[in-house]
Symmetry: C2
Subunit: 351 residues, 2 copies
DNA sequence: CTTCTTTGTGTAACCGGTTACATTGGTATA
DNA sequence: TATACCAATGTAACCGGTTACACAAAGAAG
C-alpha cells in the first residue's frame, strides 16, 4: 500500500495517458454512454489505476453548481432536531445534494454569521428553524437568489415560505385537553421565548387555551428554561412544592417533560394520579416511559423531508416555494387523567 | 428591499469600480492592513453597497485549501453522538474550518461511499467512528495525503491513529463492579457487534470480566439489538421473564439502559432492589432518572475536541497524529446494589 | 546624495474541471 | 450519388478568486 504519492492526478494527465481529450475523460466518468465502449474502458482503467478522484471543488466551480444545501438548527443535541436533520439529510442525499449543517445554539448573531458563510459557500438553498430573525438576512438571500424555507414555525408573510405545523394551535389544543378533563391549575414548562419563537408561540397557545376557559393566567406557573432534562426536573419540582401546586403540567417539549416526570416521581407523586403531564414532540423514548407520555406528536421527519424536497424543486424549477402546513396532534397515552379532587395533589399526599 | 438583482457581483467588478486591481480588493478583504486606510475604506464601502460576498468555492479552488473536515458517525439520533458532533463542530469552527457531517447508519458500503465523497470534496481531514473497515479506505486516504483519526475505538495499528477510550477495559470494569457486589447472573444488552466494533469490544470486555470470576458465559443473557429505547426495553423484559432471570443488567449504552429501566419498572421490579442496572455513555438524562443510573462515563466532548484539534494540527504542521487514550470510568449512582438473595428477584417478588 | 528598505499596488498566471461549439467519419435517406 | 444526420471526439474559453512577482514611491541609513 503506498503511503501517498506526489500530487493527485488530474483530468489532463489521465487524458494525456489515455490519448484522448479532457472532454472525453470528463464524459467517460459523468455520462458513460456518451463515449464509445472502447474509449470508456481505456479511460476508466486508467482512472482506477491512478485512484483518480475528480476534484468536486473544481467541478462545482466550473459548472457553477455546488449541490449544497444549508440547514440551520438550534442544536442537534435535542434528538427531535437530530431526527429532523436526518430526514433532511436522507432526502437530500437521494437527490445528489450535500448538506451543510450548522447549529446556532439559539444565538441570533451566530445565526447571521452562519447565513453569511452559507452565502459564501453558494448553497443552493437554506432551511431555517423558526421565523424570527433580522429581515436583512432574508434580504441577503433574495439578493443572491438563494431559495429558503422556514421550518418548525409558520409564517404569515407570503414571501417567507414555511413548511411547518402550527405551534400555537397545537399548544392550545393540548391545553384544552387538560382543561376538558377538569384541570384548572396548569403549569407550563417550556423553552425561552426570548431566543425561541416556537416557545413563544406555544406559550401564546397555552394562554389562549386558558383564556377560552376563563382561567386566569398565572405568571408563577410558567417556567421558561433551557432544553435540558435537569431544567425540566427543577422547574417541576419548584412548581409542585408550591403552596398551591398545579394539578397538571404542560411541558412544551418532551425533554423537559421527561425531567418533570422524574422530578414528580422523586417527590412521591404518582403520574397521572397526583399530577397529569403532557409533553410536546413525541420522542421515541417517551412512549416507553412509565407511564407512557401523553404528548403532541410533531411531524419532524415529514417536515424535514418536505422541506428538503421543496428546496430541491425550487432550485430545479426556479419557482417559489409554497407554504405548507402539517399536522401536529396530541397523542393520548398514560400520563394524563381527569382532575380528581379539590385539594392539591401534593397537599393531599402529605396530609 | 430588492428581490434579487442580476448576477452576483464579482471581485473584478468591485475592483473596476474602485479603480484598483483585483489583488487590492482581495487584500482589502482578507488582510486589511496590507492596504492603505484610504483604499481599504473605498473598497469596503463598495463591498457593502453591493452586498458583495466572495465566492468561497472560487477562493478554495484558487488557494487549494478547502478548510473542510469530514466527520463520519453512525447516527446523530443517539444523543451521545450528537454531543460528540457538537464538540467537534465547536472546535473546528473556532479554527475557521467547516465541518461536513455524514451518517452511515451502521452501513459499511454507505461509509465507503461517504469517504469517497469526502475525498472528492478534498477535505483536509476525516474523523471516523470505530476502527473496523475496509483497509482500502485507509489506503485511499493515504494516497491523497488526507489525515484521519479514529474515535470511539482504540487502534493497535500505529498507522491508524485513535483518540479514544478503551471500550474493552471500560466494559470489563463495569462487569467487575457488578460481580464485586455479588452478582453472578448478569445480562448484557448492547448494540450489534456485526456492524459495530464498539459493541464487539464491550461484549469482549464483559466476557473477560466474567471469565476472571470464573462465571460461565451464557449466550442467552446477551441481547444484541439496535440502539433504541424500545429495543432495550424489549430485551430487558425477555430476560427478566426468564425462569432464571439475571440479577443485574449491564447495558452497553444508556439509551437501552433507560429502556431496560422502564421495562423492569413496568414489570414491577424495583431498581436496584430487585435488579441492578448499569449503563454506558452517561447521557445528561440518566443522572436525573429514577433512580439515577450508574453508568460508564464516556468522554464524548473531550474526545470530539481532541480529535478536531489533532486533525487541525496535523493539517497545519504536516506531522502524523499521535494516538491518545482518554478515561472512561464508571460513575456510581443509584441503580446498582449488592446482590441480596438466593432466589431470583422476579420469583422473589411474585412468591 | 546614494543605496537599501519598506509600503502599497498592479499584472497575470494559475487552480482543474465543464461545456458550447467545431470537426470528423460513417450511415441512412432522398 | 448527393444530402442529411448522428455518433464520437477534440478545442479552448471559462468559472472567480489567490498569489508570486514586478514595480514605483517614499522613507531610512550610510
Amino acid at each position: 500500500m503506498d503511503s501517498g504519492s506526489g500530487q493527485p492526478v488530474t483530468l489532463r494527465q489521465i487524458a494525456r495517458e489515455a490519448g484522448v481529450s479532457v472532454a472525453t475523460v470528463s464524459r467517460a466518468m459523468r455520462r458513460p454512454d456518451a463515449v464509445s465502449a472502447e474509449t470508456r474502458e481505456r479511460v476508466l482503467a486508467l482512472v482506477a489505476r491512478h485512484r483518480y478522484v475528480p476534484d468536486a471543488l473544481a467541478a462545482s466551480f466550473a459548472s457553477r453548481k455546488t449541490g449544497l444545501v444549508g440547514l440551520i438548527v438550534p442544536t442537534i443535541s435535542n434528538s427531535i432536531y437530530a431526527a429532523f436533520t436526518e430526514a433532511v439529510q436522507g432526502n437530500l442525499q437521494a437527490s445528489g445534494r450535500k448538506l451543510l449543517i450548522a447549529n446556532t445554539n439559539y444565538s441570533a448573531p451566530l445565526e447571521a454569521e452562519i447565513v453569511h458563510k452559507f452565502v459564501e459557500s453558494r448553497v443552493e438553498g437554506i432551511i431555517f428553524t423558526g421565523v424570527r430573525r433580522d429581515p436583512a438576512l432574508y434580504g441577503l438571500l433574495r439578493h443572491y437568489r438563494i431559495p429558503f424555507v422556514i421550518t418548525w414555525s409558520t409564517s404569515d408573510d407570503a414571501s417567507i415560505p414555511a413548511i411547518s405545523f402550527d405551534n400555537f394551535a397545537a399548544a392550545r389544543s393540548a391545553t384544552r385537553a387538560l382543561i376538558a378533563i377538569g384541570h384548572q391549575r396548569i403549569g407550563l414548562i417550556c423553552g425561552m421565548s426570548a431566543v425561541n419563537d416556537r416557545a413563544e408561540q406555544r406559550i401564546a397557545g397555552f394562554r389562549a387555551g386558558l383564556e377560552e376557559a376563563a382561567i386566569p393566567f398565572d405568571r408563577e406557573l410558567v417556567a421558561e428554561r433551557p432544553f435540558e432534562v435537569a431544567e425540566g426536573a427543577a422547574a417541576a419540582e419548584i412548581m409542585m412544592r408550591m403552596a398551591q401546586p398545579p394539578t397538571a403540567l404542560f411541558c412544551a417539549n418532551d425533554i423537559q417533560a421527561l425531567g418533570a416526570m422524574f422530578a414528580c416521581q422523586k417527590l412521591g407523586l404518582s403520574i397521572p394520579g397526583d399530577v397529569s403531564i403532557v409533553g410536546f414532540d413525541d420522542l421515541p423514548m417517551v412512549r416507553i416511559a412509565n407511564p407512557p407520555l401523553t404528548t403532541v406528536h410533531v411531524p419532524a421527519h415529514e417536515m424535514g423531508e418536505a422541506a428538503a424536497e421543496a428546496l430541491v424543486s425550487a432550485a430545479d424549477t426556479q419557482t417559489p416555494i409554497r407554504s405548507r402546513s402539517l399536522d401536529a396532534t396530541i397523542v393520548m397515552r398514560g400520563s394524563h387523567a381527569p382532575y380528581r379532587g379539590a385539594t392539591s395533589p401534593f397537599a393531599r399526599r402529605h396530609r
